[in-house]
Amino acid sequence: MIDLNNFTPFSSLIGGLIIGFSIILYLYTTGKLAGISGIFDNAITNSNNRFANILFLLGLIIGPSIYLLINNANFEITKSIPLIIVGGFLVGFGTKLGSGCTSGHGVCGISRLSVRSIVATLLFVIIAMITVFVLQKIGIH
């Protein structure tokens, strides 16, 4: 069944279009693809261009702060701290090993019709869905 109470096609589409605009602005000006896992990785482990990468990440916090001045948004998380730690570790390790995340593979890569990114995106979305299914079945939070 579809969860119609939480379904937000309009705001999600607008948000997506804005993300697409940001990716193109970043590519057309700096020449780089806005893959957040790559920017995060470079900001912490690579001294080349570190300041620009840190500024992008700061922007990711400043943007939502501006939005929160005029509107509300929810942050709900139900998972226990051990799961947060394991999850964060796997997201960091996995995106570094697989050279990308939801933005780098899922948006930039698919927009360029990159076969690697299409395969990576299908894989991480399907495996995340299986993970959620398994957690729900065994009742772990």
Partner: protein, 136 residues
């Protein structure tokens, strides 16, 4: 200088897109990943919207060597499906499903001042650094 300015500006716009889209709420992401129980398809519209906007501009730029500001384009050209891509993306999928946060939304969620975001980002950094150490 312009590199710094446009990095900051792009980050700000990206972050606004993330919070409007609902991606910064882990439970909403879990709702999208939960296809068998109360599925919330909203996030398909996020990825769809972003791709619809960027794809034509990616196509227009496909043969360019430099950006409009003259910076060399840094676009990956690999086409092979190697073991690292498959294993890495799978591990990322498990982590994403466990918590409902991927790298961008995790950083943007710092705006909610929840210690959980900090713990997640710290663990993510450990994962990145450890992976880099193993490869060397």
């Amino acid at each position: 200088m312009t590199q710094n300015f446009f990095s900051l500006l792009s980050g700000i716009i990206f972050g606004i897109g993330l919070i409007i889209s609902g991606m910064t709420n882990p439970e909403k992401v879990i709702g999208f990943l939960s296809i068998t129980d109360n599925w919330d398809p909203s996030l398909m519209f996020v990825m769809g919207g972003a791709i619809i906007f960027s794809a034509p501009f990616m196509f227009l730029f496909r043969n360019k060597k430099t950006s409009l500001l003259g910076h060399e384009l840094q676009i990956p050209s690999r086409k092979d499906l190697d073991k690292n891509l498959i294993i890495g993306s799978s591990l990322f999928g498990i982590g994403w499903g466990l918590v409902g946060l991927c790298p961008g939304p995790a950083i943007s969620s710092l705006v909610f001042l929840s210690p959980v975001s900090l713990i997640f980002i710290f663990s993510m950094s450990v994962g990145v650094v450890l992976q880099k150490t193993i490869i060397k």
